[in-house]
């Protein structure tokens, strides 16, 4: 996917918030990635190292929180985490397109000094 450009955006947004908070260095950068967002954690971590060179976030701890997918089955009003890419309700076996959570691609928070 476009992990490098997402990471570039993340660092840009992070630097802006760090400066607003009066910081000069970003020590920890936390992101939340939905399991169904299509973003690959390893690719993001790889991109982080490449993209942060020469920025306020160089050398920072990069903390990726994966948000599990949560689907909703309208046939039996069940919320469930699908076992595979197929969003099959474990209770009634029907397939659903309703995703309550798991699409996040978010810069969550920072620790700055």
């Amino acid at each position: 996917m476009h992990e490098v450009s997402l990471m570039a955006t993340a660092v840009e947004v992070a630097e802006m918030h760090a400066r607003e908070a009066g910081g000069t260095r970003i020590r920890v950068m936390r992101v939340r990635i939905g399991a169904a967002s299509g973003v690959v954690r390893e690719a993001l971590e790889f991109a982080f190292d490449a993209v942060t060179v020469g920025t306020m976030a160089e050398g920072a701890v990069f903390d990726v929180q994966v948000v599990p997918t949560l689907c909703y089955c309208s046939d039996c009003s069940e919320e469930f985490t699908p076992a595979s890419v197929f969003r099959e309700c474990p209770t009634c076996g029907s397939f659903t397109a309703d995703v309550l959570q798991g699409m996040e691609i978010e810069l969550a928070s920072l620790e700055v000094t």
């Binding site: 997402l6 690959v40 790889f46 969550a108 620790e111 700055v112």
Partner: protein, 259 residues
């Protein structure tokens, strides 16, 4: 592989993706101060909570409002390279000439070959060459539509860059997202590229004239589509022979009537 997005890397990573995700699903709410983080008195916790696609999403919303105000129905088409996007658009413009006014935006990494093919239909066509970027984004669309007289259009078709990975994440402001898969590329495309198919309003199986030669297992393909995209409209057609074009036409008509 695309330098901007590193998309070529994805398939390699995908192999061990599932265990990696479930193993990390419980590091929910990692407290400020992760184990690897040494404490420092000056540390300030800065909550951000910004979607990294926020900018794109906002531009997409503004495109959508603009299309709505102008009464233009916008349909985007994505698929793997060569699944038949341009051929379907050509056929559509040809068959529907005179019934409504259509324009096309076509995205490719390089060349304006597709735009030149499409321009032969007399429809207004704008080519976006993305360079190394393997998807269209909302800002590219916002720029491209400046070159159309939107008041004169009923339908705008957007052909995305041939890629089943990256375009999934980028809202363009379209009314409907259509994903194509041809009979020659394997029945399990929806399972291999679920994000793209899950966001589709319609899934179109193309090149049905070649189904037999390709030993295409239609039942297996439909089962994959149904499981990944249970709510998507399903259309099967051949842009070459015209078989199935009437259901595609019906799908577009419904969209046009709704506006």
């Amino acid at each position: 592989m695309c330098q901007t997005c590193g998309c070529g890397a994805v398939e390699g990573y995908a192999i061990d993706r599932i265990p990696a995700v479930s193993a990390s699903a419980d590091d929910e709410g990692a407290a400020p101060g992760t184990p690897t983080h040494t404490h420092d008195h000056d540390h300030r916790h800065v909550p951000v909570h910004v979607s990294l696609l926020d900018k794109n999403d906002r531009i997409a919303e503004s495109n959508r409002r603009r299309f709505e105000a102008k009464g233009v129905v916008v349909v985007s088409i994505a698929s793997s390279p060569g699944a038949g996007k341009t051929a379907l658009i050509e056929r559509t413009l040809h068959d529907m000439a005179g019934t409504f006014e259509a324009g096309v935006i076509v995205g490719d990494l390089a060349t304006d070959n597709d735009a030149r093919r499409l321009a032969r239909t007399q429809a207004p066509v704008v080519q976006i060459t993305t360079g190394t970027v393997c998807h269209l984004d909302a800002d590219m669309i916002a720029n491209a539509i400046k070159r159309f007289d939107l008041d004169a259009l009923d339908l705008l078709i957007v052909e995305n860059v041939g890629n089943l990975v990256c375009p999934a994440a980028y809202d363009l402001g379209e009314d409907a997202r259509v994903v194509l898969m041809s009979v020659t590329e394997g029945e399990d495309k929806p399972a291999k590229y679920p994000t793209m198919f899950q966001r589709a309003d319609a899934v179109v199986i193309t090149k049905t004239d070649m189904a037999e030669a390709a030993h295409f297992d239609r039942d297996a393909a439909l089962a994959y589509i149904r499981r990944v995209a249970p709510d998507a409209e399903l259309i099967e057609l051949s842009s070459l022979t015209g078989e199935g074009m009437e259901s595609w036409r019906h799908y577009l008509d419904q969209r046009l009537k709704a506006r």
